[in-house]
Amino acid sequence: MAARARSVPAEQYDDLEQQHRASTFGMWVFLVTEIMLFGGMFTAYASYRFLYPEGFAEGSRHMDLVIGGVNTGVLIVSSLTVALAIHAAQTGHRRALLGFLGATIVLGLLFMNLKAVEYWHHWQDSLVPGLRFSFEGPLAHQVQLFFLFYFIMTGIHAVHLTIGVSVVAILLILAWRGHFTPESHAPIEVTGLYWHFVDIVWIFLLPLLYLNGLG
């Protein structure tokens, strides 16, 4: 199995060190485009929240704070398992690597399951713009706009997490086959960067979508 491990760099690189730096740099450049993707949504959210503060605060009060808080904890622990998986890859502990990658997948799926339960609650409360929305009172239109932002921002975040879980699942298979060595495990490191970025996006979504209008 060890024969499958890549201990030589691809031919365009001088050595594994240079190849590793190129991978890391490439992922960071991609993450910058991701900052701008989510940044556009955050900017639009900030603009409309400035224009309609009452409706956005009212919308936030219809969030499930328990699920939102627990899910934040789930993502933080998943970032820890990713960091520990990378550490296990660096130090050549294959069993620990498999365990932490598996734990990361479980935590990612747990997050998405809780998110699905939350979406189901919004559906039951008729708070899904365009499909099933009814809200009494003068703030109805503003609250509808808030929930539009909520579903698009959390939805695109969930798409990113789905991609993350899929990639970690592929890493798990590769790790199982002995693909990674302490000298060569850049795919795990750059996937980790992506995973942590998605975690950071959620860390900003929590206060903006859940914690507004409570004080």
């Binding site: 890391t24 224009l51 960091a83 520990l84 980790g192």
Partner: protein, 99 residues
Amino acid sequence: MASTGIGVRAYIVTAAVLLVLTGLTIGLAFAPLGPWNTVVALGIAATKGLLIALVFMHLRSGTATTRLTAAAGLFWLAILLAGTLDDVMTRGWLPVPGK
């Protein structure tokens, strides 16, 4: 392979701090701080984001190239936010003739 110089213990401590900050931001959301609620919540979120970037994403021990790339991303985001919100938030400041 470049060593990150970060141990298991640092990762666990960082995650623990992040969990404490999450509890803190949820608790403080119920404090009657008026407009400061948003400032406090975003300040805590930025602190958490910075911790993740420095420790989990290895920026603290990263090369100058990766650090500059991350900084460039934040700089462009700042241009986007400032260039949009300076318009949205100041439209009511001056009267529009004929309106």
